[in-house]
Amino acid sequence: MGSYIPNTDNEQQQMLKASGYKDFDDLFKTIPSDLKLDRELELPEGRSELEVLSIMERTADKNKVFRHIFRGAGAYDHFIPSIVKSVVGKEEFITAYTPYQAEISQGILQSIFEYQTAICELTGMAVSNASVYDAGTAAAEAVNMCRDRKRSSALISSLTPPHIRSVMETYCFGTDTKHLEIPQKDGQTDTDELKKLLASDDSIACVYIQQPNFYGIFEDIDKIAEITHEAGARLITGVNPTALGIMKSPADSGADIAVGDAQPFGLPLSFGGPYIGFMACTEKLMRNLPGRIVGETTDNDGNRAFVLTLQAREQHIRREKAGSNICSNEALCALTAGVYLAAFGAKGLAEVALQCMSKAHYLKKGLEKIGFTGLYDKEFFHEFVTDCPGDALEITEYLETQGILGGLPIGENRILWCVTEKNTKADMDSLIKILENKKWN
């Protein structure tokens, strides 16, 4: 049994005596006896490390690992450089707490400062926080940043990925925030409808748009920003961070807040988590930004030093007046993203983005040749929707038997495909061939 207690039974007895207790019952006498559990927990007995690992291996083996993945929808299978795993595996990073004691936490603090810098560079924004849980919680927190007495409701594009939108809606239930959907037109957020919605309600605090959207299609953020700002509301964009390697930055397009999930920066699929929500904003909104922020300062000898800063925003100081309750974030994932970006650099990231985009276009063309129909004729990044010659579920289930995780069925005959730099031309040709050779009902 591995209880990880170094002191032997004998030593424990000595310590009890030294502290003035007869035994453990005596030590726990402050707990009223009628509250104590009068039986053992209904759990198995403890096991050795060898047994535990073999149980966990058997459990993992019940999952199916796919060699070829053409599914995204918010979780992306990108190449992870070996140096990333090596750095993130260092115990000092893994086992540290939040860097409250700055003098012995400069490494963690600096890694977060470097991450914040990278997020600012990519989004074009003035300030980034140290991370929140994921894309959905980042989007939800961004809505809260924009709300005030006069303006308290939100417009959310209908082309926001469901896993983000559902979290935004739950947070809105918490704060009693009214939220309305902006309809889509031909695979993009309908800007005429956006204008109408903004004109009909002067309580709208913010507009949320995904770029590229759930269908992989690029939105006209410049235009949306203009419409939004004319109505006096703020624009939040949820962006794919890989796309930022080649795509106009949210700040350059006029967004006030940029959020998203940095999972593509070195975090494996992991059945959905841990991922990492990034949040960046204009300088004007800095003091509304939730979560930890690391700042540079000097120590008493004038040396460069990093600290958690602007803490007057946070729950441990402000309590019920804080803008958010966030405390723990995803620091180790921020480190991961930082190392990933150091490894790829700006040129490398642009290459990743370009390969994703190019390969997605290759697959779309290939699928169109064998009876799949691209749904919208719009500029897209690395995801696209096709109508299929057969039942979407039947198609993906068949692909599973061939060792391929196909696109995500999003309708009876509709599939959302995703391609990354990991998918080779040969993989795509083989996928197309497998689909071509099968007759669908």
Binding site: T59, T98, I104, E114, T297, L332
Partner: protein
């Protein structure tokens, strides 16, 4: 030390990808980036050395003692890391078909069941990503339940003044207003004050037990009864569960909703601030409102997803911080029913061993048997020597130890709150006691050296005022 952006040089980088093997599709002009982002340009050698230096300027549990009160910094077993690194977990897409994720669903089901048993709850959701996120989830369950019953007049959440700051902040994010109640002189809930605070507008109470001063509130059943009698619900902040697991259960104390911190009680690492995981459990009458999906077994023995019928929705994308759940399950498998009890016993023993050894040196805020942590009050030392809790804490840094939590709970003004955890050997506790005694002597004999501590760390005390007044929150490359 240099930032990653200040080393390397133009054109350096790694050779990571083959050339694109299909025709290149260019970004349309109107959507193209105007300028390249200013990321690092470094070789792999430089990356490796840079982060090794950063690791050397960090302090984890592997480096030494970490008695950070209310944070439960216990050792993070390596077998948990090994389990969570299995490709059968890391390479699974969150939107795979049910039949291809039988192992993941088993992890979710097993861990949820174990947490139900440990906490005395009827169902658990693994979706919340941290303690504060769990609080928000639990309060939204309460809100949804009250809405359904039509009790919209219940808008207030009662929070003791000793609570973690996340409690009141979570209450506000759930649309409630906060009623702060003062603690009694014994550090526990003042029953009379609580009776005066509850009423027709009470939605619920948030409480930690053992509480934030490290004491088990022996009136806990009376507390939850008062709230229930007024028509409110009781929320258990599981931050301090480590002291009591296997010995008593929040569900039996009268709590309706709980969150637990897998990154405290269940040994998953903090990662310098996250990822954590804050699963939420509830009694059956709230189960229909649970967020996300939970796992169940059908009549053929297959694992399936189950959605609550009146779910509050999703708290987080997909299924929570799944790999953290894998680590926690591996920990519970290692401990088993005996190990869980021994863990709680030794967490409490180690704390009391240190408390007794130190009680003639420092004033104890509450001089009685504590649970997993105890609070020292350095008020009189400050008066006598001018050295405050922060000075003693900084002095400890020079002795290569992480200090206890400073200035929390807020009801003790010069608080140092120590939680040694069960994974510390006796010699380490003895050394910590010796160091703290030395620091008291230093405060008396040479207070100046403590005021200016630490002296032996890679930087001295940072200028926090400067950092806040003139925020520099990102690196800006100087134009050549």
């Amino acid at each position: 030390m240099e930032l990653i952006y200040e080393i390397g040089g133009t054109g350096r980088g790694l050779d990571l990808l083959p050339e694109c093997d299909v025709e290149v599709t260019e970004m349309p002009e109107s959507l193209k980036r105007n300028t390249m982002p200013g990321l690092a340009e470094v070789s792999e050698t430089e990356i490796s050395r840079h982060y090794t230096r950063l690791a050397g300027r960090s302090y984890g549990i592997n480096n030494g003692f970490y008695p950070l009160g209310s944070c439960t910094m216990k050792y993070n077993p390596k077998v948990n890391e090994a389990a969570s690194a299995l490709p059968g977990f890391t390479m699974i897409h969150p939107l795979q078909s049910e039949k291809s994720i039988q192992g993941c669903l088993k992890v979710i089901k097993d861990l949820s069941d174990d947490l139900c048993e440990i906490c005395g709850m009827d169902s658990f959701s693994l979706q919340p990503a941290a303690g504060a996120h769990g609080e928000l989830t639990g309060l939204l369950l309460i809100k949804a339940y009250l809405r359904e019953k039509g009790e919209t007049n219940r808008t207030k959440i009662i929070v003791p003044d000793s609570a973690h700051g996340t409690n009141p902040a979570s209450a506000v994010m759930s649309g409630f207003t906060v009623v702060n109640v003062p603690s009694g002189s014994d550090g526990c809930v003042d029953l009379e004050a609580l009776k005066a605070a509850v009423g027709d507008d009470t939605a619920g109470l948030m409480l930690t037990n053992p509480n934030t001063v490290g004491l088990f509130d022996k009136n806990i059943k009376a507390v939850t009864d008062i709230v229930h009698d007024a028509g409110g619900l009781c929320y258990y902040d599981g931050a301090n569960l480590n002291a009591i697991m296997g010995i008593c259960r929040p569900g039996d104390m009268g709590f309706d909703v709980v969150h637990v911190n897998l990154h405290k009680t269940f040994s998953t690492p903090h990662g310098g601030g996250g990822p954590g995981s804050g699963p939420v459990g509830c009694k059956a009458f709230l189960s229909d409102h649970m967020p996300g999906g939970s796992a169940d077994i059908d009549k053929d023995g297959n694992y399936i997803w189950k959605k609550a019928s009146k779910s509050i929705g999703d708290m987080k994308g997909f299924h929570g911080n799944f790999l953290v759940a894998v680590k926690a399950l591996s920990y519970i498998l290692s401990l088993g029913r005996d190990g869980i009890v021994k863990t709680a016993q030794n967490a409490v023993l180690n704390a009391n061993y240190m408390r007794v050894a130190l009680k003639d040196t420092f004033d104890m805020a509450y001089d009685e048997t504590c649970m997993h942590e105890f609070v020292m009050d350095l008020g009189s030392l400050k008066e006598e020597t001018g050295c405050a809790a922060i000075d003693v804490a900084k002095g400890l840094l020079d002795m290569k130890m992480h200090p206890p939590t400073m200035y929390f709970p807020l009801i003790v003004h010069e608080a140092l709150m120590a939680e040694p955890t069960e994974t510390e050997p006796r010699e380490m506790l003895d050394l910590a006691v010796e160091n703290l005694k030395k620091l008291k002597e230093m405060a008396q004999k040479e207070p100046e050296s403590l005021h200016s501590a630490p002296h032996d760390t890679c930087v001295g005390r940072p200028d926090e005022v400067k950092a806040a007044r003139n925020p520099v929150v990102r690196f800006v490359r100087k134009e050549d």
